[in-house]
């Protein structure tokens, strides 16, 4: 959708064109004034570092030998893209993202429906659901790492089919499962809060009308509820997917990347912070950023919601 400068009102009433264009000019000025602080602040902290990351990505640049910096063009990108480790890490990150977001969407929607309908203990339930969200990811990582631990945890004891000495962090499958459990536990409330906000916007009258017309619960869900909360679902999925793709804290705390559980962010962090390879680290950052852009584009396309075009659409 192209941006429309003309106020929609003027399309409806051509006799007042002159008056309306004054009004739309005022509207334009007000709009720009209102977004100015947000834009200024966002650019201040990100524009320079972003450009610098792009700039550094074409150098062979290590903090341990800053004087030996040399221009290498696309060499860092080629090195990264031809390294199987990069692709393993990317695949692992996509795997984590798809599984956690899918599970969270289902559980989060169920939670939102329960919270929307529940008539007792609302306060207790809504307070509880905010606790995992508020808890620091580092803490969630520690809690689940200790829960899965075979020396001090309880998970092995509670699962009848597992030997009590089973080491969850000894192999890829179980280690990644433990990381995902922590991630899903911690972030499902985010999903369900946003979905609850969307559910609250669905008109009760419409649901009642559908019910009177003989629609089943399932039909009301798919034909009335879900289409009416599409923008809430999009915001929830978009932010969670992008967040999941940058997963860092949980992996840092729980496995430190062992057993092939490394994510793209963690790989980048290791290059920049641990090995001081700012050149290749910046290239990895740019690649990470580009892949995130692709994911965002896909999600916006799938849900076909354009916030800027919201007014015309509604």
């Amino acid at each position: 959708m192209t941006s429309t400068v003309v106020a929609p009102d003027s399309k409806k009433d051509r006799r007042k064109t002159a008056q309306m264009s004054d009004r739309s000019k005022a509207e334009e000025r007000l709009g720009q004034k209102l977004v100015l602080p947000a834009i200024a602040l966002m650019l201040l902290v990100t524009a320079f570092p972003m450009l610098r990351a792009i700039y550094l990505s074409v150098f062979n640049y290590s903090l341990t030998a800053p004087d030996d910096r040399e221009f290498v063009g696309a060499q860092n990108y080629i090195t990264a893209l031809t390294d199987p480790l990069f692709w393993e890490t990317t695949l692992n990150t996509v795997f984590i993202m798809v599984v956690t977001v899918a599970v969270e969407l289902v559980i989060g929607f169920i939670f939102a429906m329960v919270m929307h309908r529940v008539i007792f203990a609302r306060g207790v339930i809504r307070t509880s659901i905010l606790i995992p969200y508020g808890i620091i990811t580092v803490v969630s990582g520690f809690a689940w790492q200790f829960a899965f631990s075979n020396s001090n945890g309880f998970v092995n004891e509670w699962l009848p089919f597992l030997d009590n000495s089973f080491n969850w962090f000894g192999e890829y499958g179980s280690a990644i499962a433990a990381i995902m459990v922590s991630e899903i536990w911690k972030t499902t409330p985010f999903m369900s809060l946003l979905l609850l906000a969307g559910l609250a916007q669905v008109s009760e009258d419409m649901l009642e009308a559908a019910k009177v017309d003989g629609a089943t619960w399932w039909q009301r869900l798919w034909k009335v509820v879900l289409p009416n909360m599409r923008s809430a679902i999009m915001v929830a999925v978009l932010f969670r997917a992008l967040d999941a793709y940058r997963i860092f804290d949980n992996i840092f705390v729980m496995t430190a990347g062992a057993q092939g559980t490394e994510s793209v962010s963690f790989l980048t962090y290791r290059q920049v912070i641990e090995q001081f390879q700012l050149g290749i680290g910046s290239a990895l950052s740019v690649l990470l950023f580009l892949s995130v852009l692709v994911i965002a584009g896909l999600i916006v396309k799938i849900f076909r919601v354009d916030l800027a075009a919201a007014r015309q659409e509604g």
Partner: protein
């Protein structure tokens, strides 16, 4: 509601409570295991006989100056960042949801790009900049990036909210002679308040939760927030983490969250369930 639905809701409610509170109960339970029991190995949900520590872990953690200071830093920095970020985001989201102006796409695209940018890549250059400006290792040095990085979430959440508000009321106010600004302040702000509170909570938790900036833009307890402090809190033996001490620290760091959730929660419930926003 039919009986079947009612049973479903009850089961669902119980599931939510177990889901949310079991790991919290676990970390509380873990915080009462003694440090000796942890070192030798003490599996199980509850502390074993003789393996309990009483309040020892808590008094150890609270006696720690750095930890106390980190709690103070986190509360102050997160609250200030939230307040400022939500005010700025509300203005921007109103404009995006409601007004026609050049640059709307630019704002949304910028917000999205910033929400997506890998934070790890920014900390190197930010580290340099903050040292130049003299705000490295200060509250301000964390408040600014927290604001920038919570704005996208706040703007997107709020503009999704604002879409659903019955804007005819604003037009009615304008027909009655109110300016755009008056219509915004007198009609829309009260209607939008529930959405703003939700955005405030999301923003606060983002700031509270941050780990990467917390470790890279601070060097002393002057500004170091809780997640960073916890990650440095490895005890005497780095190869054997003091699980129960960490758990006690985690519980203490969760108490402010519970307090704030209790304070804000009523407003969310009132906001999300009232008919004010419904069409």
């Amino acid at each position: 509601m039919s009986t079947k639905n009612r049973i479903g809701v009850v089961i669902g409610a119980v599931l939510i409570l177990v889901w949310c509170l079991l790991p919290v109960a676990w970390i509380i339970s873990l915080s009462f295991k003694s440090q000796e029991a942890i070192t030798t190995g003490s599996p199980g949900f509850l502390p074993r006989d003789g393996g309990g520590a009483g309040w020892q872990n808590y008094s150890d953690v609270i006696a720690d100056d750095q930890f106390r200071r980190a709690i103070f830093n986190s509360i102050g920095i997160s609250l200030i960042a939230t307040l400022l970020s939500v005010i700025i985001a509300t203005l921007a989201a109103y404009a995006i949801a409601r007004l026609e102006f050049k640059g709307k796409k630019f704002v949304l695209t910028t917000a999205l790009i910033i929400a997506m940018f890998p934070v790890v890549a920014l900390v190197g250059p930010l580290f340099d900049m903050w040292r130049t400006f003299g705000i490295y290792d200060t509250w301000l040095g964390l408040i600014i990036p927290y604001m920038s990085f919570t704005l996208p979430l706040a703007i997107w959440t709020l503009s999704a909210f604002f879409r659903e508000i019955p804007w005819e009321m604003e037009q009615a106010a304008q027909v009655d002679g109110a300016t755009s600004w008056q219509a915004f302040r007198k009609v829309i702000v009260p209607l939008a308040a529930p959405g703003v509170f939700t955005a405030a909570i999301l923003t606060f938790f983002f700031a509270w939760n941050d780990f990467v900036f917390g470790i890279s833009l601070t060097s002393t307890e002057a500004a170091r927030p809780i997640p960073a402090a916890l990650s440095f809190f490895v005890g005497n033996d780095p190869f054997n983490r003091p699980a129960s001490l960490l758990a006690a620290g985690a519980v203490v760091s969760t108490i402010p969250i519970i307090v704030i959730v209790l304070l804000f929660q009523r407003k969310i419930v009132a906001g999300l369930t009232s008919g004010a926003v419904k069409g």
